[in-house]
């Protein structure tokens, strides 16, 4: 059976959920071989094997953290040369897309980014993507070279499928470009204890209607009652009420959770572009004419300062 190379996103050996979803998709088109880089790479093997990786290639070198992107491309290319896979799958993070794109140029292949589904086809894997603020669905293939595809979080269920997960060290030779961009310092983002926005199953977002940074705790309290991530519209971010890292929309992050709750967000096209593929959409807004109500499964026309706290209390009461 053809092997499919899967790039592993992990933090010190803890594999992030989008990679496990990739393994589910990889099994539809072949046998997953995983590539894990950096500190803790070997520690990823057990969970990757549990989710279908027949082999786990690992490499660690200071270059991966001291320089931007290119050393990881060198490693992915070494894995590609070693495996000769039928396809290469990479999580659609900002860095994941850059790594995948540079590999595609090197191996003379086409690239598809931000796939939301993947299936086997007669002429190779067929990827589903959302286009034009998710008003269209397209099905695409890579027509030249080995398909390189990046996949958005929440595109497939995480399924256990035990496999061998044999660990092999990968030899990586770094090219001249690897040390081109130096990382001179790194400040880890302070953890909020909430799930990461792009991979959360539930996202609770606040917009202009929240009316000030001091009111965002209402949104956070609702998020915490549901174990959700917190998002913000561009208006709220531009006003300085919430960090840019939490912005949902065309110029921020694209999310595709099971449930999206928009509070005080009108639903401009730029925001819709970032959340329209959410499975269930709920909105709370004072303005009955707000475009967000065209998208919702359930909408409440009302003051978020009354509705959101009541909702939070009710959720807590129901959860006991």
């Amino acid at each position: 059976m053809a092997e499919v190379l899967v790039y592993v996103d992990h933090v010190d050996g803890a594999v992030r959920k989008p990679t496990l979803e990739l393994l589910t998709l990889a099994r539809r088109i072949g046998e997953p071989v995983a590539l894990a880089l950096g500190p803790g790479a070997e520690a990823t093997a057990a969970v990757l094997a549990e989710h279908g990786a027949v082999k786990v290639l690992t490499a660690d070198a200071s270059e991966f953290s001291d320089y931007l992107v290119v050393p990881k491309v060198d490693a992915l290319q070494a894995a590609y040369d070693a495996v000769s896979p039928a396809a290469v799958l990479v999580p659609s993070s900002a860095e994941g897309k850059e790594i995948a794109a540079r590999l595609a140029v090197r191996i003379g292949s086409g690239i598809i980014t931000d796939a939301i589904d993947l299936e086997a086809g007669d002429e190779g894997p067929v990827a589903t993507q959302a286009a034009f603020a998710a008003s269209f669905s397209t099905k695409s293939r890579v027509s030249k070279g080995t398909p390189v595809i990046t996949v958005k979080p929440n595109s497939a269920p995480v399924e256990a499928a035990p496999a061998a997960g044999v660990v092999e060290a990968l030899a990586v030779t770094f090219g001249a470009l690897a040390t081109g961009t130096k990382v001179t310092s790194r400040t880890p983002r302070e953890s909020t204890g909430r799930p990461e926005l792009t991979e959360a199953a539930i996202v609770v977002s606040g917009g202009r209607g929240v009316n000030g940074a001091e009111n965002f705790h209402i949104i956070e309290a609702l998020a915490d009652s549901l174990g959700a991530a917190v998002g913000a519209s561009r208006a709220a971010v531009d006003a300085g009420w919430y960090p840019h890292s939490n912005q949902v929309g065309q110029t921020g992050k694209s999310v595709s959770p099971q449930l999206y709750i928009a509070s005080g967000i009108s639903g401009a096209i730029q925001h819709r572009a970032g959340m329209q593929t959410s499975k269930t959409i709920v909105a709370i807004n004072k303005d009955a004419e707000a475009p967000i109500f065209d998208l919702v499964d359930y909408g409440v026309v009302g003051d978020l300062f009354a509705v959101v706290p009541q909702l939070t209390d009710e959720i807590k009461a129901r959860k006991g």
Binding site: G110, I111, T138, T184, L226, Q250, A288
Partner: protein
């Protein structure tokens, strides 16, 4: 010595218009107004600020696209760029990111550069991979997704805010930089800028001038193929209730029914 900056910009269909595909599954540009991609305005702005700080700098804006794409160049020129290059060729129709990046890379090399600046992504395709591909093709350091950027003594430094960390980056010129919408508000063209832009040079190049064969680009030469594009069915009208004191509770009931609680 003069600092040669090339800014890559894209002419895109207005996102607030009714965007559609044509029969060959390329973007229909006829029925929607086009404009300079908003995210590229940040690239032009940073180029202008870097040029202001340099002793001597020249900003060239570059685009690949149909005749109308000149509008995007004019906007960038009216913001303050010095000159423009328009790569236009009928054979480019339907090019994907690999084809477009090949054309851009050849044009950048022909123009000559010390620094290439792009936006973080286009507002139509939204792939966000072009900057990395260009750096790979040009063989220069990629200093991408910067929310702050500075060029001094032949070295570019910047801040990249990622999912898990904020990083300070450093690379020597020549280099490729991409900037985010957090890099600084883009200026509006002044009346004087708009008038001056009319007199600035716009060169037109075609594939032959860039020594690119027509089968390396365009729909036929694409590295990817779109097999179908279907309009998503409009979401079926959901339940909308007016809050008369119990709005939060009714929403909780809905969430419980959907098994979210």
């Amino acid at each position: 010595m003069s600092l040669r900056i090339v800014v890559c910009v894209k002419y895109v269909p207005d996102a607030t218009g009714d965007r559609q595909f044509t029969e060959d599954l390329t973007v229909n540009r006829d029925d929607v107004d086009g404009l300079l991609s908003e995210l590229d305005e940040y690239a032009v702005e940073q180029a202008l600020q870097i040029a202001d700080e340099a002793d001597d700098a020249e900003i060239t804006v570059l685009t690949v696209g149909p005749e109308d794409a000149k509008d995007a160049l004019r906007k960038a020129l009216s913001m303050g760029a010095d000159k423009a290059i328009h790569v236009e060729d009928d054979d480019l129709h339907g090019s994907d990111v690999m084809g477009t990046s090949l054309v851009l890379a050849k044009a950048i090399e022909k123009a000559g550069y010390d620094l290439v600046i792009t936006g973080m992504a286009s507002t139509d395709g939204t792939m966000g991979v072009l900057p990395a591909i260009l750096a790979e093709r040009l063989g220069v350091p990629q200093v991408t997704l910067l929310s702050e950027v500075k060029v001094e003594d032949g070295v570019v430094t910047g801040r990249r805010d990622g999912d898990t960390a904020s990083e300070q980056l450093e690379a020597s010129l020549p280099a490729l930089v991409s900037v985010t919408d957090q890099s600084g508000e883009a200026r509006y063209p002044s009346f004087k800028g708009i008038m001056a832009a009319k007199k600035k040079p716009v060169e037109s190049w075609d594939l032959e001038e860039l020594e690119i064969e027509s089968d390396e680009v365009g729909l036929e030469g694409s590295w990817t193929a779109v097999d179908s594009a279907t309009q998503r069915p409009a979401r079926t009208a959901g339940t909308i209730v007016k809050d008369e004191g119990e709005g939060g509770k009714s929403l909780a009931a809905f969430l419980a029914e959907q098994k979210f609680i």
